[in-house]
Amino acid sequence: MLDILRDYGLQLLIGQYPAGPLGGLALTLVLSVSVLVLAFPLAVVVGVARGSRRPAIAAAAALYANAIRGLPLLLVVFWSYYALPLLVGASFSAERVMVSALVIYESAYLGEIVRAGIAALPAGQAEAAHSLGLGRWATLRKVLLPQALYNMIPSFLSQFIVVLKNTSVAYVIGVNEVTNQAYQINSQLLSRPFEVFAILAAIYFALAKLLSLGAARLDRRIAG
């Protein structure tokens, strides 16, 4: 197992970089961070819209969230892979397809976190803001969202772990992230599949475990 790490460890970490494009675990992390950053504003819109006083807006947001949550991630990935180029009329790199698919997918889940965060605030916050003469938008922007989003930091971090794990399906459309690297290494070695995939599992395990410990610590700090 150690000799596999010695010969292929670097490939697992960064792919063919710098001779080729960035890959491996580094690409997995780049994809995950991009998804979280890009999905965040969309999630705030979805989360706020779900709590809207206008029934049409609330219903549209609920339909979006429930439709996305009812679809398998792989189906969203295939939609993006096959249909997005037809819709937009241009072709995208597999990385961009994957990020788009995950942004759409995760915005529904992150939107639920935002909605729950706003709903969990005491009603007195909005009432106090209103009585101070703040309008509905100002109340949302200056009073409710800052508190809700701060309280939701641990949930966002947990969702980041989910995103990180979800990037592994990018292998099906040929993105060179860490799962795909392991798959390629396995095809080269042929005779040692268990060791290769055990290493891959260990990489994800270590990263996800570390992040979830961090999320738990943050949670104690924010709640306490």
């Binding site: 794990k165 979800n166 399906v169 599949p193 268990f194 055990a198 996800a208």
Partner: protein, 229 residues
Amino acid sequence: MAGSLLAAPDHRALLSGGLWLTGLLFVMSWLLAVLLACGIAGLRGSRFAVLRAVAGVVVDYHRNVPGVVQIFVWYFGISALLPSGMQRWINRHDGELLLAWIALALYAAAYISEDLRSGFRAIAPGQGEAAAALGLTPWQTALKVLLPQAVRAALPALVNQTLALFKATTLALTIGVVDLLGAAVQIENQTFRTFEVFGIVSVAYLAGSWVIMAGGYWLNRRFAVVTAR
């Protein structure tokens, strides 16, 4: 337009075969997952520290490693460690489906066992004591008194896991199982009728997911825990 795609007999056969495999994989994985989850939850409550630790590691592994990787570990990794006679047997009996089944069931079982555990923690300690005082054996207490209450408390989480498992069955296509989504991809590659074929399977998956969500909602109202006033 979707009608014309379904009118071709080979497409219809491919899609209905895929639908059958998706349904089969979902139901079989769910059943095995619930069984395994009860076992894991039991081990985590064991008197022996070693058993508790082993169960903890099993849960941790399955919750921290992506589902695709778990499927690869079974399909490429563990199957290669088996004796060759067993490997041949697996290959003759739909190996992809069999190994995807095991991987998906274990994956879901880890999450379900955690939900059951929180369900058990939600039960007042007096329940077990009262059952013992009435002369019920530990097994009877567990099955007739504690488990029903734990399941009830864990119901929303269990419904979520059921939905997640239903969607996760699509991961089996990464090792070549032609489930509903796998069939759609094959038809897309043959016909390039992207919107029709993915439209059809999207409706099918949404229907399945919404039935699970609605069922969960109904069960939740039917069996909601009524707290004392």
